[in-house]
């Protein structure tokens, strides 16, 4: 057991730090052209798609160096390495794993260059947690599929160029997981209609997406017909909790401590309140547990040992922290805590109040806590399915 990094890994960390010192000005000094330049520079470094194969423009980096990169980026509060979060997080990896050579050539470089934005069309009005039961229909007609149906909660649909779409090509199946087919569809295809939905924080990031006789070339199918479930599973597995998230959460904890230090309750410093101190300790223990869980799982991967569904552990920790830390900050500061940005009385510019309305993306998106617990109980502990 050792937490040291090899000389090469240390050199890599130094390289990342040096790059950040040179190329990441403080937020206030970032001008209009900053983001474009940033994206070009990290791309030139081959840090976008860091672990993807070299032949498609990836960095072919090791898992450990990827962890270092994410950690340093998060420590520095750096912006993302690309504009398409989903493209980088699971569409790209899915195409690399299941795509044809032609698909890889066609889609991967555009994801790496932030030229296209992707969205994910999995959930339907009647099929959320029970995703494998989806009903959006894709019918093979010649060298096209004709798609009819509806998706919902599709994040980024209003501005996405492409959608990774889960459809059903066979309805008469024994297992609902069979007969699912994954298609890559341009969002400007005739027959697609997007209707944004406003969430409780007032944002309109997700949408309903309607498909009416949408024609999709067979060459846009990802993986085999009827085998789309495997593609989905591997995509969701790519959505696992990363070291970068842990770093962000430690940073958030530090902000929370600053808030405690500057807050009085009942006329006395909140930092003297034993209950407050205990909560801070509890948050730190959970975040540290995520960190060391992550390192233990990373070690397993590096040793080539199979990972089961252990990553659900960190996902559940993250879900509860995401809710509890903001909620704690809001409660700590009384009615000032509920003031939104723009209020003269807002705490930290309304940051905590605002983010206390944001947890569903982490907690519900990608599988609810109940579903994560089912996964652990069934896949790891071997309990009967419900």
């Amino acid at each position: 057991m050792d937490f040291d990094f090899t000389p090469e890994e240390q050199a890599f960390r130094a390289e990342v730090r040096e790059f950040l010192a040179e190329n990441l000005p403080p937020r206030a000094e970032r001008g209009r052209g900053f983001m474009g330049e940033w994206l070009r520079k990290v791309r030139d470094k081959r840090w976008v798609g860091f672990s993807w194969p070299e032949e498609y423009g990836g960095g072919a980096g090791s898992l450990t160096e990827q962890a270092i990169l994410k950690e340093e980026m998060a420590l520095a509060g750096a912006p993302p390495l690309g504009t398409s979060f989903m493209g980088l997080a699971w569409v790209g990896p899915g195409i690399i794993q299941y795509g044809t050579d032609e698909q890889k050539q066609r889609f991967i470089p555009d994801i790496l260059d932030s030229k296209v934005n992707w969205c994910t069309g999995y959930s339907e009005p009647n099929h959320g947690s029970d995703l494998a039961a989806i009903q959006t229909k894709a019918e093979r007609v010649g060298d096209h599929y004709v798609v009819n149906g509806q998706k919902i909660w599709t994040t980024g649909a209003p501005w996405a160029d492409w959608i990774i779409l889960l459809t059903r090509t066979e309805f008469d199946v024994e297992r609902k997981h069979d007969g699912i087919t994954c298609l890559l569809v341009p969002m400007d295809s005739p027959g697609i209609e997007v209707r944004p939905i406003e969430n409780m924080a007032g944002d309109r990031n997700f949408a309903e997406v309607f498909f009416t006789d949408v024609q999709v070339p067979v060459s846009n199918r990802l993986g085999e017909e009827g085998k789309g479930w495997a593609v989905t599973i591997s995509a969701l597995a790519n959505e696992r909790s990363s070291i970068g998230e842990v770093t962000q959460m430690f940073a958030k904890l530090e902000s929370l401590k600053d808030l405690v230090r500057s807050t009085n309750r009942q006329g006395r410093p909140a930092s003297d309140d034993p209950a407050v101190r205990r909560r801070i300790g509890e948050f730190e223990a959970k975040i540290a547990a995520m960190k060391y869980n992550g390192l233990r799982y990373l070690t397993k991967q590096l040793r080539g040992e199979p990972l089961s569904s252990e990553t659900s552990v960190n996902k559940l920790h993250r879900a509860s922290l995401e809710i509890e830390m903001d909620d704690f900050a809001v409660e700590l500061t009384g009615l000032a805590g509920v003031q939104l940005p723009g209020s003269d009385e807002a705490v930290d510019g309304g940051r905590w109040a605002r983010s206390s309305l944001g947890w569903p993306s982490v907690v519900i998106g990608g599988g609810t806590p109940n579903i994560q617990r089912n996964i652990i109980a069934e896949r790891i502990l071997g309990l009967p399915k419900d």
Binding site: M1, D2, K257, P274, I280, G281, A289, L381, D386
Partner: protein, 357 residues
Amino acid sequence: MDFGFSEEQNLLREQVLRFMTDACPLSVVRAQNGGLPRDLWQQAADLGWLALIVPEAHGGLGLKWIDLAVVLEESGRGLSPLPILSQALAATAIGRCAGDDVKREWLPKVATGDVVFGIGLYDDPTWIDAKGVGLAGGETLTGTKPFVSDAAGATHLLLATRNGERLGLAIVDAGDAALKAQPGIDRTKPFATVSLDRVEPVAAFAMSADDLAFLTDCGAVAATLEAIGAAEAVLALTSEYAKTRIQFDNPIGKYQGVKHRLADMFIDIESFKSLAYHAAWAIDDAPHELPRAASLAKAYAADAFARIGIDGVGLHGAIGFTAEYDAQLYLKRSKWVRSAFGDADYHYRRAASLGGL
């Protein structure tokens, strides 16, 4: 970066596991009455477990707490009644605080198990602080020391003393002291109250407040490591039961009230395991990280294992409440773990302080 165990450590783990299954199963554990099971102790000594963290210069194997971690975890899985934890703390205390003469004389006997240590640090059971040490130090010791762990089977006692602001550790021949064994919830973690009447310690040396904190942290980490094994045993026992016990035509493990509670146990065990491994590693390799690491691990484990102990009984229904069924043994251990070397409240608040609040 490698946060996993080596092949040697994994072999050691298998060895301890085999010992616990073959030589020290729960039937044997249940038969204990607070004394030292001599033959088992000798086997543990022969296998080298007592020598693990003793320096080579003093007849030990010169390994680290992270190696001992494996022994503690597997011992905990089977609720071993052997005082390996107390012996390890004694080895650590002598190695850290005593002069060369004392080390030369005592450490080899600790390694062979010829000397068996009971240990008493705090007199006040709710005060993890130098001020919680009560017994007055001096040329001779007179007074009582409550909460001395593993005293009944010990040849010697290692007792914390205080002279004004100065702390010390005294090694007392168990034969020179009057021991009163005190019944506790967990019979595998026996206590005694030790009375001393002008007893001359066979050795005595100074201890700083930092040393005391360090030893407490080692104890907290050790209790947490044992709790990993014990909690995993509860989870295994209860999951197995949930797969076979049928109610309302289904195995109870199909119901989410049961299965989600078991999933939560898994999440908590995974988490305090990671924290405990890091803390155990820090004892030798990053001592400056130890206080915070130990507090995070112990705090998490103390609360989580307490719930696991309770739900391990509760999820079985009435059978879990019976003396015959093993779930209750783990619940009893969890009660000990809760308070040993500082409870969750103490450690969470300490973590906040160490984190700059």
